[in-house]
Symmetry: C2
Subunit: 389 residues, 2 copies
């Protein structure tokens, strides 16, 4: 019986069952599916039922899921979406202020230097997936506010992962300018090269492939090609010191807007792949957390961290938006829209946990902060900002 | 650098690259993609370049790929396709004669009892995927001959996997009637229960889910449900002593013909999932084979085995077809259409190899037989049977 319970088939079936339960929870509490699936993961994980553990199988699929998820999101954006200076300013200030706020709060709560740096870093990244999804659910994707949120969130993601690289450099003791500069050069170099190769080579390659007789005979080969590039970019991003998911995201953007004769066969494909894999990824985020590690002191820290996470994004993104002649309400909405930390903060926390920089309790605190910042803005947006009068 | 080369991202990217190379090979030699991808797997595997090894990662994804592949194929068939007595007779005799032929040939070549049983078993199963694909490529799917081939191939698959269960029983030393009867009961019990539950419960559950507000809000949950069922069936099939893929196939058939309000969202999804995973599966079939283990004696055995594999299917399926009042040419076509062994023989060979019943050389011989029987019939069908006069 033990062989059955550890079999690939059983684990896969169970993960899908948990994901389904997550959809049910999400529906009941009227939240995005991401939140429900993570909650379901918490319930079946070591925190409550102890049914699912973070095995190598779960880890591998989750890792693939994160890459495919960011690839799929990347497909929604062009490089031009990222390269707007206005959004860059919103994203940049919206990263610096939360990073400082998180660092200072951690110091106040008595965390050491390395952990404080990581907690600050975990506050930097907005989740594109969650923000975009909330706006989409509300039918507000084509408003100027939404474009500012998504544009800034995209840049925010790259900046936050650069911030992560720098934090990792600082934490690993290479605080001298040389190694950090190298880290930045490698990361920026990868991003620039990735964009240039994507724009000049990959899109043309795809268009050329699309006209070949091979693709006419086997249209699915374009999809396989896209997934190959997604994981290749992820691998190189990893090598360049960035998170692998940035690679997946850049690969997705490289393929944005390509007009193929048979429609974007790989876009639909990637979305279907993402449904299954991202579900495993979100379940894994819940499973890897052990709520038993949370003590009373951490609960106060979670609440304080979540408050700082929300206020610093609202201020850090809202003020530059206001300076760009947006109305008070729109500026607040941009800030609020940037609040959800979602899976990106969780990935950063996971890296910190795996490297031993933060402990289980701090990891759980960041995940809870991520959950709270993900749950609260949609409530405010739904009941106040976009409320029909 | 070593960490990069063993990373999930690198392995996944490489596997997709090999699959793409496989499509190129398939196109150049004018064969089905399956053949090309396996050949590409042989080239990058230990036989030639030694670039890809059969790691746990490859094995896990390949295993999932086989389940998803058979689930997708199952979606094309209803239980009624299987339950035609005429096709049952073609399938049954088309299994007994190749099994006997393979067993006797192996004995002649000096193989021991267990290996001979397994070699006979490996000759039993027709690949639905390859047969159906060849007929589809030729636009002949809606002919009576094609329906007989596919119907019989479906039953053949289940019978061959029952034969595998029995062979495994015999080989493991349980030659007494009791355990074999239990094996048969468990296998048939699973198939019958799987069909009954599929027909009475799953289809209704799916139709009910389709009308819920949860699915209206999250249509992707139906796809997750389908994949959950596919792997659950695969797990139970495994537990019942059958191959996991039979479970995937039955699960697919359970969902056949369900009319959902949003179209068969899970069908497209499963096909996309199958493109990536089945590619890994086919690559793995090439990678696990080491052609260095083939000696001169085995080459003769491969040729003899392939000849027996082809003749016994043509005779074993062609004669019952002729008795069912098909013309000589149609009967021959039915027999020829049942010749491709494809992935099913490879899975049986893999089980034999993993259990130590057959050695690397015999494994490679069965894979080569499978390749030859897969490559030759399409050539004959294309240049002779369906040739325009």
């Amino acid at each position: 019986m033990h062989a059955i319970l550890t079999s690939t088939e059983f684990q896969m079936s169970l993960l899908m069952f948990v994901a389904l339960a997550g959809y049910l929870i999400a529906y009941r509490i009227n939240q995005s599916a991401v939140v429900g699936i993570i909650l379901a993961g918490i319930v079946v994980g070591p925190s409550v039922l102890r049914l699912v553990t973070y095995t190598g199988f779960v880890q591998t699929l989750a890792q693939m899921g994160a890459v495919v998820l960011l690839f799929t999101i990347g497909l929604e954006f062009s490089f031009n979406d990222i390269l707007k200076p206005r959004y860059f300013v919103i994203a940049l200030i919206g990263i610096i202020i939360p990073a400082l706020g998180g660092y200072l709060l951690a110091k106040v709560f008595g965390y050491d230097f390395k952990a404080s740096i990581f907690i600050g870093t975990a506050l930097t990244a907005t989740s594109i997936a969650i923000t975009a999804n909330v706006l989409k659910e509300m039918g507000k994707l084509q408003t100027n506010v939404a474009k500012a949120i998504i544009g800034a969130a995209v840049i925010d993601d790259v900046l936050a992962l650069l911030a992560l690289s720098i934090s990792e450099g600082i934490v690993s003791g290479d605080i001298s300018a040389g190694p950090i500069l190298l880290t930045i050069l490698k990361a920026v170099g990868f991003v620039v090269l990735g964009i240039v190769i994507g724009k000049l080579l990959l899109q043309k390659l795809l268009l050329w492939m699309d006209k070949t007789k091979i693709v006419a005979k086997y249209p699915e080969s374009l999809f396989i090609f896209a997934i190959m590039i997604a994981f290749f970019y992820a691998m190189v991003a990893d090598y360049a010191g960035l998170s692998a998911i940035v690679g997946g995201f850049l690969a997705g953007m490289a393929f944005d807007g390509v007009k193929l004769s048979r429609g974007n066969v790989f876009k639909e494909g990637a979305e279907h792949l993402q449904i299954i894999f991202a579900a495993v990824f979100f379940v894994s985020l819940g499973v890897i957390m052990d709520l038993h590690t949370i003590t009373l002191n951490v609960i106060w820290f979670v609440l304080a961290l979540s408050a700082v996470a929300m206020l610093t994004k609202i201020i850090g993104c809202g003020i530059p938006a206001r300076f760009q002649h947006m109305s008070m309400k729109d500026s607040f909405t941009v800030g609020l829209g940037m609040v959800p930390r979602g899976e990106v903060a969780m990935i950063i926390a996971l890296i910190g946990l795996n490297q031993g920089i933060i402990n289980q309790a701090t990891y759980a605190a960041i995940i809870l902060m991520s959950l709270l910042t993900t749950i609260i803005p949609p409530l405010v947006l739904r009941n106040w900002v976009f409320k029909k009068t």
